[in-house]
Amino acid sequence: MQPSISQIRFLGKPRIIGLMTFALFLLCTSWQSRAQDTPLLSGGGGFFTNTTGGNTNYQFVIEPLLAAPVGKHFLIESRAYLDESYSPKGDGQSGYSGTGFIALTYLQGSYFLSPHVTVTGGSFLLPFNTYNDRLSPIWISNFQDGPLISSLGTLSTGTGLGGMLAGSAVSKPKYSIDYKAWFSARSGNEQFDTQRSAGARASLYLPEKRLEVGLSYDKQLQGVREHFYGAHAWWEPANTAFRLRSEFARGFHAQGYWIEADYRTQAFGGLNSWIGRFEPLFRIQQSFRRDTIASDGLPLVNTQRADFGLDYNLLHSTRIITSYSRQFASTGDENIWETGIVYRFLFPAWKAR
């Protein structure tokens, strides 16, 4: 797991504010929970190792999520990222050096304005393509590392500070269309560091085909005022545990794509048999630099990478994730070995009334 995932922002000095925020939200929302609407704490905790070019890094991560309804129409939601990383000191020195940080990933309030419109305000994950707002949590990602292009279109921090309209425009048995459109202000606040930007995503989903295709666009409204274009396609054939996901993204200075497939067999006693819990994975990805100006987080030279993974879904929401990757670039090829174990938790924040 690389700590430089786009949506993570460092709190640095006022770490305690992040913890205070969580604690106070728990208090603030405790008064009127209904029978089904008790605030919940969810998220994941994990231990990861990453060996790149012979250097190994060890990481302990906790990524808690708090969701707290306020009445029937308003939901407060926040996610944080707590990390401790250790790596050998090197240069002949014994022992390990460690770093740690706490980051507030997002903090948003969503109001259900109508059956097809939800208004979100605060700090929210930018819905450019699908990785940032759907797949980035540690208990969801199949691989420890995000795709090479995950920083394209997500404007450095992966979050916006402003407002977003979202919802299901059409929901029919044969197809559905959903949308998200946002505006983000510029903020240099240490906790909510965002860029002025605007963007949108629209997706078409065909339930019978289990196929989703979508387009994303956003524009940075400060500095170089860069445009970003994205497209995604997901396919999960019915009655199988096969999933194919892909994304393409293009900016002024770089572009790239990734395609990921994963599969769990049901042939030997179903998904919960010991064989069915294995989940082989494969991801191919390429990034291309269109010029030498690096305004994004992509590699500085054209890069190709193949990821081979094997995850195992243990009982009690625990998952072992392993992968080997071979990365090819003109600056040098390298092998990347990663292992980890992730536990996903979900429980009420307190006892329901």
Binding site: Q36, D37, V70, T118, Y205, R243, L346, F347
Partner: protein, 97 residues
């Protein structure tokens, strides 16, 4: 710590709003509540479809959560997966029949 004061102010306002919402809700509890739309009765499998087509496309189903948080989970998924109100209601009934 220069952001602590505004942050606390926001949280205090939120707490006040939350309390006010709770009081309003208490007042509104006296008349009989309207029955929910009969989504589940029309199509009992709809909630399961919504779950399969939205939630489990990204993640495995969490194991063994209690009914006390089923509404919160459904609201969370309404936000995350852009569910319409009907799909949200169907999902809620699937999670807490």
């Amino acid at each position: 710590m220069k952001f602590a004061a505004p942050l606390l102010s926001v949280l205090l306002v939120l707490a006040a709003a939350t309390t006010a919402t709770g009081q309003t809700k208490t007042k509104q509890q006296s008349p009989p509540s309207k029955p929910s739309p009969p989504v589940h009765a029309v199509n009992p499998d709809r909630g399961q479809q919504v779950f399969k087509q939205n939630c489990s496309r990204c993640h495995n189903a969490p194991e063994g959560f209690g009914p006390s948080i089923s509404g919160t989970i459904a609201m969370h998924m309404r936000v995350r997966a852009n569910l319409s109100k009907d799909d949200y209601t169907a999902l809620l009934r699937f999670l807490n029949p």
